[in-house]
Symmetry: C2
Subunit: 110 residues, 2 copies
């Protein structure tokens, strides 16, 4: 996956890139979850507290989807009870400034 | 709607701003449609040609939604047949650089 700089983004809108970007941000909670995680390492319980109106099932599902997409890492520590921690992957951290910037779109049209 | 600079985006992720931003970009075609329009003025027929796999009904619906959101302007010229043209609003043009940048998210995770 070639790391281009932002100036050489395709002149013509690229439907594949757009669809992949939307996979990362779309849905009621996904972008909010990424931004709440930010540069921190968070436990499942901490994330659940930060997103009080999200159901356990949806939170687990969104975290799983973000792991599959390569946005976040999931680490399980063999403790009793097991400790599960989430952090952004290096790709996730690379994307974070743009993901934060998306809120500017919300402000423009709010 | 206060026009802030990007440095004073909320420290904490703002769910309202995120939801509004997602309203502008989400959906199979919306972001692609905005980027295809870009800084140009396009007729409905031109947009339909640029998005060959989108149905007339969906294209009309997405254009209507983007007008309601304040992203694009729709001008009808009283000609026979009537000429209908779409352009980005000033808010749309303000958001365009960030919307284009979203493709970088697609590249990172592609």
């Amino acid at each position: 996956m070639k790391q281009g700089n932002r100036h050489d983004l395709p002149a013509e809108p690229d439907y594949i890139l757009i669809s992949k970007a939307l996979e990362v941000v779309s849905g009621k909670w996904r972008l909010y979850l990424i931004l709440q995680l930010g540069e921190e390492t968070r436990r499942y319980s901490q994330l659940a507290e930060m997103l009080p109106s999200i159901s356990e099932k949806v939170l687990a599902g969104e975290l799983k989807a973000l792991v599959v997409l390569g946005v976040i890492d999931r680490k399980v520590y063999a403790e009793i009870p097991p400790r599960v921690e989430y952090t952004l992957t290096s790709k996730g951290r690379l994307a974070l400034p743009i993901l934060r910037l998306l809120q500017e779109i919300g402000r423009i049209f709010n």
